[in-house]
Amino acid sequence: MVKVQKKSAGKYCLGIESTADDFGVGVATFEGEVLANKSDSYIPTEGGIHPREAARHHAEVADTVLQDALSKSGVKASELTCIAFSQGPGLGPSLRTGATVARALASYLEIPLVGVNHSVAHIEIGKLQKGAKDPVTLYASGGNTMVTAFESGRYRVFGETLDIALGNCLDVFAREAGLKHKKGVPLGAAIEQLALKSRRLISLPYVVKGMDLSLSGLVTAATTALRRGDCSLEDVCYSLQEHAFSMVTEVTERALAHTEKKEVLLTGGVAANKRLQAMLAVIAEEHDAKFSVVPLQYATDNGAMIAWTGTLAYRYGLVTPIDQSMVKLRWRVDKVDVPWIQ
């Protein structure tokens, strides 16, 4: 729950991000300058993210990341106007760790706390970094795949996955194929590299339902194709990417045609993929829209986006009293009012 106070200005906001495997701290000015953006990622020894292990990691690194960010920013803790934190959506244990750090800081410094929606933050930092005004945004990461655009006070969802996220789809396949997670090299990047070595398209399910899409059957089919052994890992990586990206691109194009907006923004961890970028560039051009890709350090989960969105909310008097700062694991983007957009 967010309490509405009088509109007020400020100087600096410190943002804490901890929805999944990254613990990030950013510092932003109210004018939109990012002074620091530091983070530390939890790398699972095997399998996907274990929520409890991720939370333990966050608790261990919180102190260091926080100090790094503050010293990089050159801002003293006493100069901060407010503390923003990602209140959801995400993994419970991870979210709660970040929220605990945020509450402690806000109480100690006696400054307001601002609960920020993680998905809204992704869109806002993307707009800030790329100078976009009113884009159709494809936000594709390990946990989210949605096409949003602003309409009547909120970011509306014009298309989304009916089951797993795009990043998750690539990750699960990569693990099934025995690829290993290395520090600094996401599994998705490994698939992208392998895909470049093939041009042989294997038939896989292509599931677009209205504005939405489904990816879970695609992973199963890709895994089965690999096990069947009549095609190479490269062929399957290529085919998986072509099918999955074509689906999200089709859905994004539908939203673009429907809303008639003139900008397309790509964000989230999967934004790093060159093939996905190329596909979206094609539809943007076809609809006379400007296409931008959010730079990687702001496209993946980061503290700067929380800090920046915190300043926007604070300016409109949206602060979160400590007793209402519980994390919201399933906080949809279309449930959040964004009064700073006219």
Binding site: P89, E151, R156, Y206, K209, G210, D212
Partner: protein
């Protein structure tokens, strides 16, 4: 086939995401040419497969919808090689615009009718696949025509029926956010009246399950 298909005075009506619609004259009748344009972002092979599949299936489903008691435009011609369908032009107004300007009572009546039509489709094993208010036209003769069956399929599964209605709910939420709940309620009311309360309830339970399955839905079980 190629010669009768030449339609010189075609005028672009709408450039959609998937297809372009042209207005033309088909032997003295007002007609629509729907062309699924090649999508350069996806591999040619995949693109051709998708376009050919949808061009073949759309008229089939439209034909079967008529048998189910749901109005759809008449098909005049299909050209798979060019991903082209020529069909009847329906004089009327899109439900999308109609809903936004209608009074509450006529909005309700309209949504009940939509619900009934969707139920007729489902009862006959047809799934529309893209139920939005842009894909429904209220014709001058008062009937509601359903168009754009390109993402449709034949299925009797409750899962598909649930997804179909869930998509309509989502479409109402995003384009008619001021009164979507009331609209969707009326849709369900019409739906139950045709499907019978018992079968309709099974579909509603499925919708709830589909929604819980989605990521970040508040009511989803932890």
């Amino acid at each position: 086939m190629d010669t009768i298909d030449k339609t010189p005075q075609a005028k672009l009506l709408k450039k959609g995401a998937e297809a372009s619609l042209f207005l033309t004259d088909w032997h003295g009748r007002k007609a629509i040419i729907k062309i699924r344009i090649p999508k350069l972002y996806r591999p040619t092979e995949l693109d051709q497969q998708i376009r050919a599949y949808r061009t073949v299936h759309e008229p089939q489903l439209m034909h079967e919808a008529k048998a189910a008691g749901v109005s759809t435009p008449l098909i005049y011609m299909v050209n798979v090689a060019e991903s082209k369908i020529i069909m009847q032009y329906i004089e009327g107004e899109r439900v999308k615009e109609l809903l936004n300007k209608a009074e509450k009572s006529s909005r309700q009546a309209l949504c009940i009718k939509i619900g009934e039509s969707v139920a007729y489709l489902h009862k006959h094993g047809l799934i529309h696949g893209d139920l939005t208010t842009s894909n429904m036209i209220k014709a001058l003769n008062g009937r509601i025509y359903f168009i754009d069956f390109g993402l449709g399929e034949k299925s009797m599964e409750i899962e598909s029926q649930g997804v179909d209605l869930h998509l309509l709910k989502r479409a109402l939420q995003s384009t008619h956010f001021g009164f979507w709940e009331e609209c969707f309620k009326s849709v369900l009311c019409g739906y139950s009246s045709v499907q019978g309360v018992e079968s309709a309830e099974k579909v509603y339970e499925k919708i709830r399950e589909i929604e819980r399955r989605g990521r970040y839905v508040e009511e989803r079980k932890q």
